[in-house]
Amino acid sequence: MPLKILLVEDNEMNRDMLTRRLERRGYQVVVAHDGGQGHDLAHSESPDLILMDMSLPVMNGWEVTRLLKADRQTSHIPIIALTAHALATDRAKAFEAGCDDYDTKPVDFNRLQEKINGLILEKKPS
C-alpha cells in the first residue's frame, strides 16, 4: 500500500506540480487548499506524513501544526514545513510550532523526498 501524504498548499500551481511529482514517485497524495481543510483532512484521512505550507488562508500552517500536534489522534503524524520564507526565524518558528522538519521553496525535490522517507521510516520502523 502506497504511503499517503497530505499536501496542504494554497498556490494552485505548486499544489498541482508537487502532487504530480509525488505521485510520479509512487506516493498517494491528498490535497488541502487551506489550513482548515488541512486540519480536517489530517483527521479524516490519517495520512502518513503532512507537507505543510505555512502561509495559508483560513488558518496558517503554524496554527494547524500546533493543533495537530496537541491532538492525540494526529500528534504522531510527521509534519514537514514548506515555506518560501527563508529566514532563520522561520525555521525556528516552524520547529517551535511542532514541525518535525523544514524545507524552503523552491523545493529541491530529491532532498524533500529524503526527508519524507527519513521521517516515515522513523515513525514506522520496519
Binding site: R24, S75, H85, V107
Partner: protein, 684 residues
Amino acid sequence: MNLQNLSIKGKLLMITMITSSVALVLLAASYLVYDLLSFRHFLSEDLSTQAEIIGYNSAAAMAFKDESAASVTLSALKAKEDVTAAVLYTPDGKIFAKYVRANIVAPSLPADVPQTNGSRFKGSYLEVFRDVSLNGEPLGTLFLQSDMSQWSSRAKSYATFLLMFMLASSFLALLLASRLQTLISRPILRLEDTMRAVSAKKNYEVRALKFYDDEIGRLIDGFNTMLAEIQQQDMALQGANDELQMRTQELEGEITHRKQAQEELLTAKRAAEDASRAKSAFLANMSHELRTPLNAIIGYSEMIEEEIQDSGQINDIQDVQKIEAAGKHLLALINDVLDLSKIEAGKMSLHLETFEVALMIRDMASTLEPAVAKNSNTLELQLPEDLGMMRSDVTKVRQILFNLLSNACKFTDHGTISMSVDRIETREQQWMRFRVADTGIGISDEQQENLFKEFAQADVSIARKYGGTGLGLAISHRFAQLMGGNIVVESEPGKGSVFTLHLPAQANAETTAAAPPKSKSTATTPAPEPKSQSETILVIDDDPAVRDLMTRFLVKLGFGVIAAVDGEEGFKLAKKTRPAIITLDVMMPEMDGWGVLSRLKSDPELASIPVIMVTIVDNEVAAIKLGASSYMVKPVDRDRLAGLVEQYRKGRGPVPEKVAAGPVHTSQGDSKPSMRWDPVSRRN
C-alpha cells in the same frame, strides 16, 4: 556679683569712685590729725601762759602768806571753762591754795610736785607746772589742770565737717565720672552694637563709628578694615557663587540639549531600525513572492525533464533544462540578496558541525565539473592525506569555496584552476587555509580595492560578458568574517588570481577574536587548548531509540551531538570533550544517572556544565539537590527541551528551582499543545 564681669561703664565708675574716695579720705585724715596736733600744742602754750600770769599774780600773796588773796587770784580761773583745777604748792610740797571747778567732786591731783617747769598730757587732761618766784626768790609751784573740752569739741566739729565735705565731693565725683566714662565706654558699646548687627544680619556693609583717635579708635579702624576685607571676600565669594550658578544653569541647559539630541538620536535610531526592519520584512516578503513562482518553474521543468526522459523524447530536453537552469540562477540571485540582507541585519547565524574537509572538497569538485568544463579548464585538487576534520558552518564554507571556484572557472579560459587545502597553526589556534588559484584574466590593484564590496564588479563590462550580481565575493567575505576568518587576494592582470580563505579549524559560536593569519604562515606551535565545545551536547542514554531521536532533534536545532551508551562512557566523554550541555538518563545499567550526576558535579572541571536529567521516574527534588540544572520526565517535551538547550547555549540557563517549578512536565494529561515524544510508544 563678680566685679570682673561688671560692664565697662560700671568698672569705670567703680575705679573712679574708689580712687577719688581713697584720696579724699587720706587727705581729710591727715588734715584732721595735723590740725588736732597743732591745736593741742596751742592749748598747752595757752595754759602755760595762764599759769605764768596766775603765778605772777599770786607771787605777792605767797610771799605774804596770804592764802585768801591767793585763792581769790586762783578763782579768777572760773572764766576759763576748761580749767578743772589749780593748786599752789609751797616749796616743801604743801598745798597753799587750791581751786577746783564747781562741778568736779574729786579732782585728781598729782602725788608729787616736780621742781621744774613743764606741761604734760595725762589721761584726758593737760597739766602744767610753773615756778612761782618773786625777785628771783622761789616761793612755790603752781599746778594747772585742763580737761581739753575745747579740743574734743573742736575735733568733733572738724570731723563732722570733713565727713560732709567728703560726701559732697564723692557725689560730685560720681556725677563727673558717670559723665566722663562715656568717653571710653560709648565707642566700645557702639562697636559692640555694630559687631552684633554684623554677625546677626551678615551685613558686611555697615561700619563702626569712630569717635576719637585713641586706642579704641584704632581698634575700630582695625575692625572696619577687617569688615572691608570680609566684605570684599564675601563679594568675591558671591561672585564665584553667581558664576557657579550661571555655569550650573549653562550645564543644565547643555544637559537638556544633549538629552534632546540623544532623544532625537534615539528617535532617528528607532526610525532607522524601523526602516531596517521594514527592509528586512520587505526582502522576506519579496523573497517569498519570488520563490513561489520559482518553485513552480523549477518544479515543472524538473518534472517535464523526468517525463521526457521516461518517454524517450530526448531532443526536447535541452530547452527544458535551460528553463530549469535559468530558474535556478534566479533562485541563486535571490538567495544572495537575502543572505546579504540577513548579514546586514545581523541575523545571519552559524550552524556549526564537524565535517571531513577532503570529503566536502571532493563532493564540491564533482558538482563543479560542468562549470570547469565549460571554458575547457582543468581543476587540480591538492589535498594532504591528514587534512582531517574541521568544525564550522559547512553550508557557508561550501558556499564561499563554490563562489571562489565558480569565479575562477568563469574568468579563466583554457587554463588551470587549482585548489589546495592545508592546516596551519598560529599561537592562538589552528587554521584551515584554502587556496583557489587560476590562470585567468586576473584583477588589477584598482579593481582589488572594490572586490569585496557589495554590488561592485570589477568592471561594468564584466557584468555583460560574464554575468553575476557582484554579490558573491561580498557575501563570501562576510561569511568568512562571521566564522572568524578572512579572504585575501593576490593577482596580476593577465596572469591569474589567487584567493586564499583562512578559517578557524574549530569555529566558535561567536566570531573568533583572534586575527587570522594574513600571509603564508609556517609557524608551528604546540597544539592549542581544545576550544570550548560551546555548541556540543552530550546525550547519555542506554536506549538507542532515545539516543537517535535526541541526536536528530538536537542536530536540527544546530548543535553538535555526542552520544554515550552508558554512564561510564558518558563520564569519560564529558571529561574528554567538555560539552556545553549534558542530557542524562536516570535508569541505566551499571552506573545509573544519579551516580553519573554526582561524579560530574564532584569534578571541578565538569561541575559547571548544565545537566538535564531525562527520566521516567519523577524525582526532581533529588535531581535538583544533586546539582542537575533541569529535570524532564519522559516522554520528552520537545519544545521544553529546545527552550532549555537554547538557554544554556546562550550561557544564561535558568535558576534550577524556577525550572523545577515549571508546570510543563507535571503530567501526561497536560493540555499544553506540544508534541509528546515517547520512545516507548514509538517502538510499537
